[in-house]
Amino acid sequence: MPEDYEVLIKRCYQCGTCTGACPSAKITGTFNPRKLIAYMLLGSTERVVSDDVIWLCTACHACVERCPELVYPAEVLFQLKNVATSNGKFPAGLKEEAMQIFTTGTTVALSSPIERRRKKLGLPEFPEVNVDEIQKIMELTGIDKKLEFNGTTLKEQKDEEEEKQ
């Protein structure tokens, strides 16, 4: 496992190979792994962590393959996003995804149209997911608190909203 990002970035000699390999840099024009590392080396880690741009990494790992100094830029970005999440800064779509997993153990909820489609194709019933275990793990790691849903499932959230109206 690569080291902590503080250690990893110290190896960077700013060659720009990561950015050259990066599909997100090419398309977005705002995301640039080499530059983000440069800012951190110059002491602006806090600014980088709070910048929404870090969420534009697609995790393709092209940079990891090519970086000549084993900086593992994708890993650096994962760690930075983890810090941002701990600081309460994360994309709404990902909170939604985590809440869905907390609710059903899967990123998509099983529904009767899905069951019908499975049947039509002759597929066996979707095996039961042990949601209790998944919820317990997510409470133990504290992700529910970090994302500020504190053990609330999507269903409970919906019920609450309906009650309010």
Binding site: M1, P23, S24, E65, I101, G105, I134, I137
Partner: protein, 294 residues
């Protein structure tokens, strides 16, 4: 007969049942038995959940592996995302005692334990390494002649190579060989190893679609009849995403996207309907009519 703990994940059984149908119909031909993994859940998502919290990502992944360990068989995944998560988790926990202790501390609360005694495999690995192109050629009864396929590996089949250790991370060949075993032609195109963009679909849809579009432009330029993927996320990006791009940019591509197992099923003479080929957003009808004229 080889038996595997069959890790379905969530996108395939709940959204892309066509993937599952093709796998369940094709694999028995190769003497492979699929055992259900009772209680398993999302792998979880190697991009979204790992970005939020790596400890949660490792722990949920390790729980799935622990269930497979109890069954005593290697795990079979059908998706690059599941492969990335489960193989990385397996690898890191095996090599990092402190991480393993931390995760096992969490798993002990649900009476489970990660031991590290099974392997995580991707279906492409099994086809390419264990079964081999030669055997696949033997089961082809309806060769896909004159079919030009744009192969999209998807990042997480081969990267990070240090961990996934399958094929070459920049110039892989396995899937091209497997395509040619069906009698089809894998055509070279620029940006073949570029990311499809799906990783930021929920964060910046515009940029995600622009990444896909770059690839579609190159695929169209070389006259691809279809695209093949081995990952449900890449599939959605090329299938649903292509539909969105055609609207948004007022461009026409209409290149059908097929999971490799769907193509293999067709080449084995299975019916398009039983493979779920009518479930695609970009219609496969014309392609099928050309492949198999009545």
């Amino acid at each position: 007969m080889t038996s595997y703990s069959f890790f379905l994940g969530c996108m395939i059984p709940l959204r892309l049942q066509n993937f599952e149908a093709s796998v369940r119909r094709v694999l028995p031909t190769f003497d492979i038995e699929l055992l259900p993994l009772n209680g398993a859940g999302c792998c979880p998502d190697p991009i979204g959940i790992q970005s939020l919290d790596q400890t949660t990502w490792f722990s949920l992944g390790a729980r799935n592996i622990a269930i497979a360990e109890e069954m005593g068989h290697d795990m079979l995944t059908l998706c690059n995302g599941c492969f990335e998560t489960l193989k990385t988790t397996n690898h890191e926990l095996l090599h990092e005692p402190t991480l393993k202790d931390k995760v096992n501390g969490i798993l002990s609360q649900i009476n489970r334990e990660f031991k590290g005694n099974i392997k995580v495999r991707h279906i492409v690995e099994i086809l390419f390494e264990d079964i081999g192109a030669e055997k696949i050629r033997e089961v082809v009864t309806h060769p896909l002649s004159n079919l030009k396929v744009a192969v999209h590996y998807g990042c997480h089949l081969v990267r990070p190579s240090e961990i996934l250790a399958f094929d070459d991370p920049e110039r892989p060949q396995s899937l091209d060989v497997l395509i040619e075993a069906l009698g089809a032609t894998s055509i070279p195109y620029l940006k073949k190893m570029e990311c499809c963009g799906t990783g930021i679909r929920s964060i910046d849809m515009d940029s995600a679609l622009k990444m896909t579009r770059q690839k579609l432009i190159e695929m169209k330029r070389v006259g691809a009849d279809c695209i093949t993927t081995v990952c449900p996320f890449c599939f959605i990006q090329f299938d649903v995403g292509q539909f969105q791009i055609q609207k948004q940019f007022d461009e026409e591509y209409n290149i059908p996207v097929l999971y490799y197992m769907e193509l293999l099923g067709l080449a084995m003479g299975l019916q398009p309907k039983e493979l779920g080929l009518d479930m695609h957003r970009i219609k496969t009808k014309k392609l099928l009519a050309r492949l198999f004229p009545q």
